[in-house]
């Protein structure tokens, strides 16, 4: 069982050798295939931006990223260098091979119009959200994904500690401009991203910003 304290490790990979280099503005979704053995780097270009990501087995989307399997197998809640992201069927999906941020959240989930009404005010329901992003993206795709597949995700670059008294906190991020996390795919995957448009809480200093995705073979 690994522990989940902050562990920082830099990557040797050169951006010039990446086969994909995509910058995703805030408030936008992205669905991309990642092949087994490929490496995905997510760069927090301007710092403390939430990249909300769900992974699926490319050949059987009923098998999805599982926050609970991942937490159970590593014995704790934070994702960092050497964390393995597990599927709902208990298979390794990705391994975090480098991480200059050092802590990522998988308890906080993705924002939604409906949860915004609960968390902030009923009048917030027309503001933009990650789950609306996910929904439109999968509606327009041929992935076969539907609402039931919008399961608890990874919030890259977010810091959501749990206290010994059992409270959940939303702390200032440990990320910063240019920090990145790098994951190696252990199976063929769909990567479903929402670059979070949340304007109601200070996690991103009320200023959602772009994130960059680099992929190497």
């Amino acid at each position: 069982m690994t522990t989940t304290a902050i562990r920082v490790r830099e990557s040797e990979l050169q951006a010039a050798h990446a086969i994909h280099d995509v910058t995703l503005p805030s408030g936008e979704p992205w669905l991309h295939e990642l092949k087994r053995g490929q490496t995905l780097r997510i760069v927090d270009l301007d710092g403390n931006q939430a990249a909300d990501v769900i992974f699926y087995n490319r050949h059987d989307t009923d098998e999805h990223y599982s926050a609970t399997e991942t937490m159970l197998r590593q014995g704790g809640i934070y994702l960092t260098t050497d964390s393995v992201l597990y599927s709902s069927d208990g298979n390794p999906m990705l391994s975090i091979v480098a991480d200059t941020c050092g802590r990522h959240d998988t308890l906080g989930g993705a924002c939604a119009a409906e949860s915004n009404t609960v968390r902030y005010a009923l009048a917030k329901k027309f503001m933009h959200s990650c789950r609306d992003n996910y929904m439109l993206c999968i509606q327009e795709s041929d992935s076969g994904l539907g609402k039931a597949d919008l399961v608890p995700n990874v919030n890259f670059f977010m810091n959501v500690p749990v206290t010994g008294e059992g409270d959940l906190k939303f702390d200032d991020g440990v990320s910063g401009p240019g920090k990145y996390v790098e994951l190696r795919a252990e199976m063929d995957l769909w990567v479903l991203v929402s670059n979070c448009p949340q304007l109601n809480n200070p996690c991103n200093a009320y200023n959602p910003t772009p994130v960059q995705f680099l992929i190497w073979d």
């Binding site: 906080g108 009404t117 609960v118 608890p152």
Partner: protein, 257 residues
């Protein structure tokens, strides 16, 4: 209690004697390791009672009207800024509604972190106890039990969600590591879960996956369903947090007639 000539389970009289017989609808006892499910209407409540020390009951909720709406662990935790459940907390759906409210609780901490025992871990930890050799003493994981139950409603493994583990306590330290508290729940610990919308409830009484006890000896759990009525205006859970008031309001909006 519904009048019936069949073999109705009356053990609620032992494990929930304080319940008003006029409000009691039915009851049963889930043997340790076993699983069951019910479709239950808004305005009823589940009394869950641990019948031995160290119990665990993994529970999932789906909206009966639209099964795509289901209990959502992250939404519930972040809205209430909590990593434990007790009286006042509500279990929220992904659609911003309270599905169930904890209206009483003798224990003070139920585990919402969603960890679930699967067959691989069960066999590694406790050995294989199959039906051929052990008949009704066979072991079944919480995951397999819940997959059987939700399958009865057309839900598949893609639909299996992170459960609430009633009667269990898991804390998280500064490094983010889990610590399971053995024997958190005494025999007789009980919790009342009022249903705020029509739901499908599925449960498994298999052990918590972090339970360190080497022997497979899951506790039975008593379940009594009683007529609680819907959340009143001065409800404790509504007043507990403004988020909960809004989630219960969103539930009320589904029942306008």
């Amino acid at each position: 209690m519904l009048d019936s000539p069949v073999d109705v389970d009356t053990r609620w009289q032992q494990f929930a004697p304080d319940l008003d017989p006029a409000k009691l609808l039915f009851s049963e006892v889930i043997p340790g390791g076993c699983h069951w499910s019910w479709t239950l209407p808004r305005g009823t409540a589940l009394r869950l009672t641990a019948l031995q020390p160290g119990a665990n009951l993994s529970l999932v909720l789906y909206a009966a009207r639209e099964k795509l709406e289901r209990y959502n662990m992250p939404d519930s935790l972040k809205a209430q800024h909590t990593a434990h459940y007790t009286r006042g907390h509500v279990l929220m759906s992904d659609m911003g509604r309270s599905m169930a409210s904890i209206i009483s609780d003798s224990l003070g901490w139920h585990d919402p972190l969603g960890l679930l025992l699967d067959a691989r871990r069960l066999h590694e930890k406790y050995g294989t106890h199959d039906y051929q050799s052990f008949r009704n003493g066979m072991y079944r994981s919480g995951r397999d039990g819940l997959l059987i139950e939700i399958g009865k409603y057309g839900l598949s493994r893609r639909d299996l969600i992170a459960p609430v583990n009633f009667f269990s306590k898991v804390t998280v330290d500064e490094d983010g590591c889990f610590h399971y508290l053995p024997q958190h729940s005494p025999a007789g610990a009980s919790v009342d879960l009022r249903l705020d919308i029509d739901v499908i409830v599925a449960v498994s009484a298999a052990p918590h996956p972090l339970d360190p006890r080497p022997d497979y000896a899951p506790s039975p759990v008593g379940v009594a369903v009683w007529r609680s009525g819907v959340a009143p205006a001065d409800d404790y859970c509504r007043a507990f947090r403004p988020e909960n008031a809004r989630a219960l309001y969103n539930s009320d909006l589904q029942y306008l007639a």
